[in-house]
Symmetry: D2
Subunit: 315 residues, 4 copies
Amino acid sequence: MHDLTAIVADITEEMLAAPDRGRPADYIPPLARVDVGKFGMAIVTLDGRVFTGGSADELFSLQSVSKVFALTLALGRVGDQLWNRVGREPSGSAFNSIVQLESERGIPRNPFINAGAIVVADVNLGRGAPRESLAEFTRFVRHLADDDTIAVDQEILKSESETGYRNLALANYMKSFGNLNRPPEDVLALYFGQCAIAMNCVQLAMAGRYLMAAGRIPDSGHRIVSAARARRINALMLTCGHYDASGDFAFRVGLPGKSGVGGGILAVAPGVASIAVWSAGLNAQGNSQLGTLALERLAVRTGWSVFDGMNVPGI
Amino acid sequence: MHDLTAIVADITEEMLAAPDRGRPADYIPPLARVDVGKFGMAIVTLDGRVFTGGSADELFSLQSVSKVFALTLALGRVGDQLWNRVGREPSGSAFNSIVQLESERGIPRNPFINAGAIVVADVNLGRGAPRESLAEFTRFVRHLADDDTIAVDQEILKSESETGYRNLALANYMKSFGNLNRPPEDVLALYFGQCAIAMNCVQLAMAGRYLMAAGRIPDSGHRIVSAARARRINALMLTCGHYDASGDFAFRVGLPGKSGVGGGILAVAPGVASIAVWSAGLNAQGNSQLGTLALERLAVRTGWSVFDGMNVPGI
Amino acid sequence: MHDLTAIVADITEEMLAAPDRGRPADYIPPLARVDVGKFGMAIVTLDGRVFTGGSADELFSLQSVSKVFALTLALGRVGDQLWNRVGREPSGSAFNSIVQLESERGIPRNPFINAGAIVVADVNLGRGAPRESLAEFTRFVRHLADDDTIAVDQEILKSESETGYRNLALANYMKSFGNLNRPPEDVLALYFGQCAIAMNCVQLAMAGRYLMAAGRIPDSGHRIVSAARARRINALMLTCGHYDASGDFAFRVGLPGKSGVGGGILAVAPGVASIAVWSAGLNAQGNSQLGTLALERLAVRTGWSVFDGMNVPGI
Amino acid sequence: MHDLTAIVADITEEMLAAPDRGRPADYIPPLARVDVGKFGMAIVTLDGRVFTGGSADELFSLQSVSKVFALTLALGRVGDQLWNRVGREPSGSAFNSIVQLESERGIPRNPFINAGAIVVADVNLGRGAPRESLAEFTRFVRHLADDDTIAVDQEILKSESETGYRNLALANYMKSFGNLNRPPEDVLALYFGQCAIAMNCVQLAMAGRYLMAAGRIPDSGHRIVSAARARRINALMLTCGHYDASGDFAFRVGLPGKSGVGGGILAVAPGVASIAVWSAGLNAQGNSQLGTLALERLAVRTGWSVFDGMNVPGI
């Protein structure tokens, strides 16, 4: 058994001292102002212990990490029919690329690029109003994290709504191919809202527990998805969770993970732990510079990489 | 512990009876003639037991499965310098696509698409002659599999050399960007040669043992690569091993794997087993139709998916 | 001197009898209902004579033919600064392609693909309201054609506004790159409006007179643009006026021309004539099937192709 | 009637003094060494007068200008069947782009990009040997120019053959789609040979006379192609003759033209003149910097732009 207290302390110390911290997202003002000097980390193990380091209690904007929970919710609503409207392949392109949509007739490559997440939002919107659907989504995340204080950051939401032209382009483009049921504006109201949820590392690691535990929340035993579906969401996180740096993240870290431009990353060690890291500075691919490094260090120290056979017993 | 004997027997029986068997590769005559009615499977566990089903002793053409061993050899020659010449990201494109090479200045996306494997062959060729380099490669595979009978199928080699215009295009294209050191013809002589190696499922599963065992051959303890490198090769197999169906393979099977148009697939359950399956009929993405299905069944029966936390003990 | 009366009569007769008439645009209902059995044609010569055939007096929807007049207006407003925001090259792509915009940072290839025409509309909108800008545009076209009855077809406009998701995608996409000054909805209100103008062949041929006459309206001598600018607009019509069939149109017809999905085409024989043809059935590239054929016949009969040196005197 | 003697003198003087001269092609050493200080120009009028300026007698490498004569020869061999193997549309891409070939199944966009010219060379090779086919091509050019001294520059040919990896990639790629009949090496032997022909401005302008004169050599009356075919070759030169700067060339110059990386450009004023300019410095698109500027000046001074109606008599 690893001394996770020491490991988390060591990694936090190293991250707080790291000279190259990346740059915060600059596309909306409230994100651009976040202090890149901060770093937070939280690990929740299968047996319920929690290990934290740095600013693990500081709220940050969930952004694209929300796509994991949105996908989970959508699969609960329409099941595998979702895959008629969105693919399961890495895109090889940036998070907001529109190119593949043209040759692939409006079907996004996977649910973790923006276009795919917009289709997922259309599913989650269903026939409802954006406000009610966002409230439902927020309740779902609260349930996963067992924390009723989680809420949408209204300043972030307002900024995103005002400047989201690229996402409006993606939504209208898919609408032109018939791959959105609802008006683009309504779908994006939900999408921008889910992205604007604020969480801290502890809340995020708690919310991800079902993914390490075959679809159930470990302490309550409450089933969120089937074991097969949890496995598949993990697979998608590994192959598609970091846009066009997904391969590199798998190569370096070896854990299913999903990043957001708010600087957060949720990572899953199946059967072992749910992990959240946060630091607002991003690398060239738009993923948290220190968050990625911290997870790389963690995987080396613990052997939790899914590609590492050493801490697995023989059959 | 699973009853692997029964599992392999069940899967083999199901595969032999499967109605939809895919179509054999048709680009060279010797591959097009292979009987799609056959299916073979072999599992070698960490502790050295071997389980076989169907035509596990029948030779097939290794084709792109050879890219795993070639990558391993090249990393041994030049280490991480390799990554200056080839990327580590899924391509989102077909195995023989030339499009990304243009916008990315002759740097292939990963070592498992053809362009990337041609760069790897250029590394393995070094300053040598193609014939000697191919002999060296064959010796390496024999060593991995502990079987000195493994050899190049000369009929396959002759056919590939005569019709490999697409690969010649890729090689000349990368040469124009300065990303091949040796003449394209020489590099392809080695590349076509490694693809033309014939192996059976038992030999292939044996050859893959170092990937489940942190870089060592389990019985001899001989180190092939470091544990970190074995982990990273597994990561690349998972994200890039099945071309533009890599995401789907991870979603359905959840094991690092590498396919070839000869119908073989090598899969790795880290810390647990090395697995080879073979059936000549291919699906639309050029991967073995029944091989993929057999591995999906195996992952479900054993819980070996790297995304499945259930048979992993807590920390 | 050609007997244009006979030539127009012959061509009209052939077109009315042609078996393959193409298919009308189907993206909005009012266009889909237009009778493909009709054909109209009008030629206005430099010296002011008018030759007509078939349904030369029947109104049709101007659609993309309006882009010529919009470009003319925009060049009058901002001059060559326009070329900082839109290119002058054939796109090699369909009229509504979004792909090049991504790699070319939101700068459309030319003012005759939809994206480019949307930038032009943003220029023409200036700081005004869409309604006033559309009224101004309509007045400009009336002036060119010397016909105050020309007006917007409100049914067409309503249909376009309701289904223009692809154009909304293009506009929002360029807005995300900062290449639109005004809100996408306002820009498209003008764009949809200009496309919805209804004209007949006589009106359209009259409106195009300044392009054959070095920038002046021949009878009044009123200057619309400089001779150099008229020449350049003609050049753009020839290289870019028929989307990804521009090369074929130049090859077959050899005249600067601009087509619209309403089935109209405006063509220019510099120094000689302004020509309008109309037939609602479109070919595979979205250009009028019979309109193109009629212009091909006309060029052969008259030698008006700009690539034909035979009716040009020596220097 | 224009004073062409004065016009040519003025333009030559301006070009020799121009500060920004572009950069010579650097991909093979013999081209990189050419002096960018030189400029040459020759005009041959329909009535046979010849006007020259600067280094009009200095040999330069024909390079891609040869594609016009190769196309003419191929159309003579197989007629319009050629268009089954190569398109007639501007590519919107660089001269050596391979991207469109993938999505368009090995059919090049037009005969003036490298891929298209390689298909044309395959046609001209027919069943012959490269050496004989090159001799035949050279004889054809000598006939057009009425000059038996025209020959292949062997130093250029040797350099091209040694470094032509990109063209080898294009040829092998099209071969993989079945769009070359002969081995890529043989096709390229002819292609490199035709590109390596050396001509001076007077010879080149003489060789282009049939394109201004409806397909006949004006003085002898010898028919090279039909009038319709000459018109269509002119159309292709205008829409596709300058790669991804074809639109800009049409916009600025307004004459059918074909450039080569040797710095030469052949331009045609239908019914009026055949024009050759040369200066080795290239602009960013790979076309002669001063050659383009000289033609722009010429078109303004003479009104020869095909889009300029002012010197054309009324009908």
